[in-house]
Assembly symmetry: C2
Homo-oligomer: 363 residues x 2
Amino acid sequence: MSRAVQHPKKRGKLLGIHAVAAKARVSIATVSRTINRVPTVNPQMAKRVWAAIDELGYVPNIQARALGSGRSGVLGLVISEITNPFFPELIQGFEDVALASGYEILVSSTNYDPKRMELCIRRMLERKVEGVAVMTFGIEQPLVEELAERDVPLVFVDAGPERPGISLIKVNYHHGVRQGVQHLAALGHRKIGFISGPMHLHSARSRAEAFSLSLAECGIKPRAKWMLEGDHTMEGGIRAMEQILDSADRPTAVMCSNDMTALGVLHKAYRVGLRVPDDLSVVGFDDIHMAEVMIPPLTSIRMSRLDLAQAAITALRAHVEGTGPQREYQVDTRLVVRESTGYPPGAMTDLVKNGKAEPARRR
Amino acid sequence: MSRAVQHPKKRGKLLGIHAVAAKARVSIATVSRTINRVPTVNPQMAKRVWAAIDELGYVPNIQARALGSGRSGVLGLVISEITNPFFPELIQGFEDVALASGYEILVSSTNYDPKRMELCIRRMLERKVEGVAVMTFGIEQPLVEELAERDVPLVFVDAGPERPGISLIKVNYHHGVRQGVQHLAALGHRKIGFISGPMHLHSARSRAEAFSLSLAECGIKPRAKWMLEGDHTMEGGIRAMEQILDSADRPTAVMCSNDMTALGVLHKAYRVGLRVPDDLSVVGFDDIHMAEVMIPPLTSIRMSRLDLAQAAITALRAHVEGTGPQREYQVDTRLVVRESTGYPPGAMTDLVKNGKAEPARRR
DNA sequence: CTGTTAGCGCCTTCAA
DNA sequence: TTGAAGGCGCTAACAG
């Protein structure tokens, strides 16, 4: 018996499934079935139901649905920083793919802050997400504990704990990075530096390792002093570039762990009057949309956001829907050559450089 | 009598408010009160409850809470395009302010696509948001109809329908734009162009009008041929710049309706060998974070994302919480001078400018 | 194939 | 101040 509890939001006519049922002269169960496209509903009734729905402008209450069904239909996406353009592009892809798979997404960023990370986790838990993609390029231990313990399927990039319910997206950094290094080597560069991401991130280390490996493949000896640690921000790129400028023996080309870092490098180079690519070649990583309009347009190693998103959601769905989840999924990278890379300085003239690697004369 | 309905997610021990209540030896009502910080709970019991909560790692189910209380605690944010860096910065601010006010946010982007817009609306409705901030800088009629009809408080930027429940954030474009124009005029520019946003957006028109007005204030006659229509994207900036380059009598300075447009202009200028600011001064709008590292660093008119977010949430809260909602809220803009603006060509020398673009290579 | 009904997990009134 | 109990809007057994 109703006690006429007046809920704050309830004003006048209440627009629930009951109203629809009444208008269509069917039971609420039939309305529910119609909405959820259960095939066994009489087309006649279905039509009446849809008509009623649309006359009343009925919109199902998703929270109630989630409660009743025990399924939220939401996939979480944890990123590190929304203001880094790479992530909005990722979000876009993730959302598109999720939508196409009938899921909604819940995005939360950690901002590299443990407190925010706590919040992220809590949100995912409170909203009962069915799985979460951790795209911070780190392992995020607390996240693993809290979520994995509760059997929330997880997918990480590059590396993650070996546990049931956890999948990995293995990015083939080596492919793109090798192309990049070979590209530089072919232009005549022998003195190539690398500005990494924060080395406590496994993914950042992977990129750095791919670089060292590629260098070795080209017969170039890596120099520790040219391996700088950045932090995947423009400011980090600027700082790293300052270090490069301070050293006596400078590299003729720099590869960066992401495009924001490259942007910082480009900026600093501009500041001190170094021309890119004439005085210094720069290679980015990610190939964000903006790389194309940087000055000069940035040669970058492309990691497809859509591929990442696709892999992540495929992995999550496999767990959620129980369709043969795999431990690993592959994503490739590839070089996109633009104009921030060119011959090393001196390659075009007879200028004798120092005793170090003599740039192969080309053209 | 339980019919032992086995929900898909329920595995073994179920972790609900009941478990906490049992462990703390109180009723679920007391647990609920404790969680919601109702002051009348016995501190003793409260302590027991909190202890139980954290021993069990209990996390309330937010959807159930929303259902029961009739309040979702969610504010919607509709943006046009997440890949435009302005918006992530806005989202950041919006989220911070919302969180501080005890709300969560639900972001959805229209991508300038009516279909996506439909989706946006539906999402907001399904999730029962308590208010939505429409930051697309457009009026978005369907949104108004669907949401306002259902008494969802709305806040628009610059302009919106006159209705109860709808507030406006009035951005004082004129202030910043005037500063920009005065700045250019002070440098000696008399031939100043403007690349607007899509003119069907009221906000874009407002900016263009602020420009024309400011020009007049400085005693400069506006020239229709230098008023180009862009679309707030880099590509649009590039296209507009192409038009400028094609014309015989070119402006010596260009003001843009947003920073992405300016980025396109910078890019195109670079492409054709035009030096900024030596050959052309460029002023942006928004002052996104990246403006600082553009090449050259972009002089821009700052519109604070935090101010916008603050105003939007203040407005929404006033409606939701019924604390004297106002029709309008103010946000100011101001010029930030960097290095993309300088004296017009010829100002420092007696050089006679030729008709074509003289690709004087920088440095 | 349709209707009835018992929850989903929480909030909140009401009585104690 | 606490506990008992009835919804919130929807889903999903179960019976018809």
